[in-house]
Amino acid sequence: MKKIDAIIRKSKFHEVRQALHDVNVYFFSYWDVTGVGHEKKEHLYRGVAYSSSDIQRRYLSIVVNNDFVEKTVHAILEAAKTGEVGDGKIFVTPVEDAYRIRTGESGNLTLK
């Protein structure tokens, strides 16, 4: 099992979600984070112009079985891309075990 964490643009969320759906990934959790990176945004507030590299992004956390890793990553890579600086990153980390609370079962089948 692997955990795939993707940090994407908020405006790309709907497309990514659809792409995941298309490769049969129906389960994940997401929340909003502030990303610090290359991209900068211009702001103006009461006559003070400033640029900030703190940009709101969406963080998706998806745990999948090993055979799903590749297609999940690819689905995100394609759907989240605009080609402009600030598209975000995907990280893959190992997961040792998973449990489904409803049934108490553990292992690969919890992710189906």
């Binding site: 908020k10 969320f13 709907h14 909003d32 211009e42 702001h43 103006l44 112009a49 709101q56």
Partner: protein, 403 residues
Amino acid sequence: MMLCTALVFFMHLGFSFLEIGLTRQKNTINILFKNFFIISAGLVLYALIGFNLMYPASFWNGILPDYFVGLFGLESPIGKEGLDLAYNEGYTYWTDFLFQGMFAATAATIVSGAVAERAKLGSFFVFSILLIGLAYPLVGSWKWGGGFLDEWGFYDFAGSTLVHSVGGWAALLYIMKLGARIGKFDKDGKARAIPGHNLPFAAAGVLILWLGWFGFNGGSVLSADPGLTSLVLTTTSIAAAAGGLAAAGFVHIVYKNFDLTMFMNGILGGLVSITAGADLMGITDAILIGASGGVIVVLAVSLLDKLKLDDPVGAVAVHLGTGIWGTLAVGLFGSSASTDQFLIQLTGVGIVAAFCITFSWVVLTLIEKIWGLRVVREEELDGLDQAEHGGMTAYADFRMNQH
């Protein structure tokens, strides 16, 4: 009377709250800016042009106010009178101007709600300036300025048609041209919900509007006659209450659900319905008119969804739907009810409709050609606050969901 003006002014807070409450947070600044612009520009414009246009000394063929033909100077036409005031107890030239100026801005605010979250700010400004500066006072002059509708006996106490449906028709045409917000209808054309981001604001907006209507209808008595004014306030409130209860009750029966947003729209529907004849109705009439207005709003909201028209705050349903109903109701209920009156009301509604549709269609087509009506896709997705207001966020310290 002056305090009625204050209350009508306060309605603009009500409209702003309602509108931001029922839309998404990413467009909040944009909506507020729009509303500030309307009220400010509305007042100045109305001072420079509209007021004289609406209350002309004479008419050209009974249709175009002579003012329009003659003078169109830059110097403010009011202001000339100086302090030479002819007033009859509590009612002066200036009060009248201010009261009417607030009304004019109201018509544009109605449009603002319907086109929220996707209209280009600059283009909308051009449209509202023309609406406040030309269309509204022109229509208004036909009745309140003593024009042909007035001569025919058309009755519209405080503007079900002259204010609300003028705004409503403009709103309808605008959203037809503009198209729905991204995500409002799915691929199969089924309507989806885009929930408003701050319902307490929306609710506050409705109560403030109700309060403002005391001034709107109460002030339209145009005198401080306590008997008539108090009757008007009573019918107004009763119709609002009945409208809300009817709308909520109706939704409850259909969906088995206590729907707050429909309660709110129902109240507004009740208010708009009674506006045309608030001084002619008794309690029972007010209850019936208001309650029907509430139900009409619910049906109109569904109808718009079916027509794939997207009106985030329900402005068309409320102001156009019940504006027409309220105007017709003058011929059906209360002390003026008669077939003749009904037909006159119907004619009035029709003429105003024809004019507003034509006006809006022409103006919008021109604006579309020149500047475009709608922001580009990315700007809409990011939110207009980002695109048009330098990335100012309405709620800087809050964690938001965006959608």
